[in-house]
Symmetry: C2
Subunit: 296 residues, 2 copies
């Protein structure tokens, strides 16, 4: 049975896993994300035996050249994804982390032609499969609804520079300042906000009331854009607080939805979510990525 | 050379055109939209000779059964699209009007794999082609970004019932009440607002300043969702006021964009836009519509 290497390049950690054709994890490695994370993890897995390798990475990314170009949260803003893997003389496939994640859920678990993935972590990212096609668009950005405008009058600026973006309200890196704006105190880190809200602290409860509406508004926009049957939600903010997010999101969606909704489920693979997706890209390379010249 | 019948079912007018394989119009017919518009226009074109027929219609539509199910602005809320055409014993293809329009611009003019269409008329509608695939999704709604949420705190309710929708701010049917809210006078019809703004009437100028930002926010969300190379903008509100919309939209997009932009052009076929698109659906039926059992 063939084996596939999946690499997840995150802002803080870079992970590698070896999986078989069923998606079962055979080996795992994890390093702090350095200045050239793919080159660094390639050293760690040099002895592993695999038939192809996939990479799911934070962006923004130039998919045509296989290089991350302006990453705001990692040690270096620019690093190669494809080049450092050529030494293995195996096919290489790369994509955005959320694009990889939705593909992993599609290939190794759900096989549903219309599904989307949303991550709520430092940032907000989306991946989408519509009518069995993994959406990429002209530059590889046909999934970037973390940059949907959910408040066109708001002065809140996203990390990308855009005004009123979904990420500017709901992303983990922006929650402290959003809490300060709404509660008039803080800033507070996301875990602290959720903790206090569970304890009934009024300002935290009131803040989450607004935050959950912003989340529902962004999700309603994702459903209007892609009409999925299934929405998978991952990322630390969502998974660590699924007791609140899982309960409130479907309820609050009703007032914003303009189309029939979707089933909402938490991500299936925990910390391996993006690495499994990357391995799935190597195992079954999507047609749309072939249009960008992958595998290389 | 084969000939194709294209039918455009609008809230007010139902149009039919006969085109050749180059998209040239050979004949035209137009009737007021009645209680069963496709059955009524089928009578008018009974003598026409064609090889297949396409229909682009207002929605919402149940694409699986080929029936419009809850149309808010036409004489009847429910009417069949496929059934009345079976008597011609020719292949029948149906889709949402904006889905048809983007397909017509793709087949008969631009042939660009990543393009989207936006109509600004009574309502706000979108159609999208991503990586050469016409997006439909699970129900045929994977393009409904007229129902993107662009102000999650707003009490403005869209015709579909959703809060803070793009259409609730920018659609022609909602501009009078939005003008009243912003200017504290009126309501005024769209043509009157644009006319007064051209004449320098302060309240109309101030209203359009807000309206154009709402438009730019919705377009930024469309570009983030589909990453098109080209955005075609049609509909009476846009085309009758392209001097203002064409000039202002690119400028105002800059503050909202989170991804590389797109070229923006006005629709190519004027009043025939949707009918030409419908004929294109019959001439070259998209793979995703075949998944819904078309042509029938």
């Amino acid at each position: 049975m063939a084996k596939y290497l999946g690499i997840d390049v995150g802002a803080t950690w870079t992970r590698a896993i070896l999986v078989d054709e069923g998606g079962s994890v055979l080996s795992r490695a994890k390093i702090r994300t350095g200045v050239s994370p793919v080159a660094e993890i390639a050293e760690v897995v040099a002895g592993w035996d695999f038939d192809a390798v996939g990479v799911g990475s934070i962006g923004p990314m130039d998919l045509k050249t296989g290089v991350v170009v302006n990453s705001p949260n990692s040690p270096s803003r620019r690093f190669p994804l494809v080049e450092p893997l050529k030494k293995f003389k195996r096919p290489v496939v790369v994509a955005n982390d959320c694009v990889a994640a939705v593909w992993g859920e599609y290939v190794f678990k759900y096989h549903v032609d219309n599904m989307a993935y949303l991550t709520l972590s430092t940032g907000v990212g989306v991946g989408a499969i519509v009518n069995g096609v993994l959406l990429l668009g002209k530059d590889g950005n046909a999934h970037e609804l973390g940059h949907a405008v959910i408040d066109f009058k708001s002065p809140r600026r996203c990390g990308c520079g855009g005004l009123g973006h979904f990420e500017a309200f709901v992303g983990g890196a922006n929650m402290p300042s959003f809490y300060q704006e709404v509660a008039g105190e803080g800033p507070l880190l996301p875990e602290e906000i959720f903790k206090r809200a569970r304890e009934g602290y009024r300002k935290a409860v009131e803040f989450l009331d607004v935050w959950l509406d912003a989340l529902a508004a962004g999700v309603a926009t994702i459903l209007a854009a892609y009409d999925p049957e299934l929405l998978i939600v991952g990322g630390s903010i969502a998974l660590n607080n699924w007791d609140i997010v899982g309960r409130e999101l479907p309820k609050r969606l009703v007032k914003y939805l303009g189309v029939r909704g979707a089933e909402i489920r938490p991500a299936s693979f925990g910390d391996d979510e993006v690495a499994i997706g990357a391995a799935a890209l190597a195992y079954k390379t999507p047609e749309t990525l072939k249009k960008f010249g992958y595998p290389r």
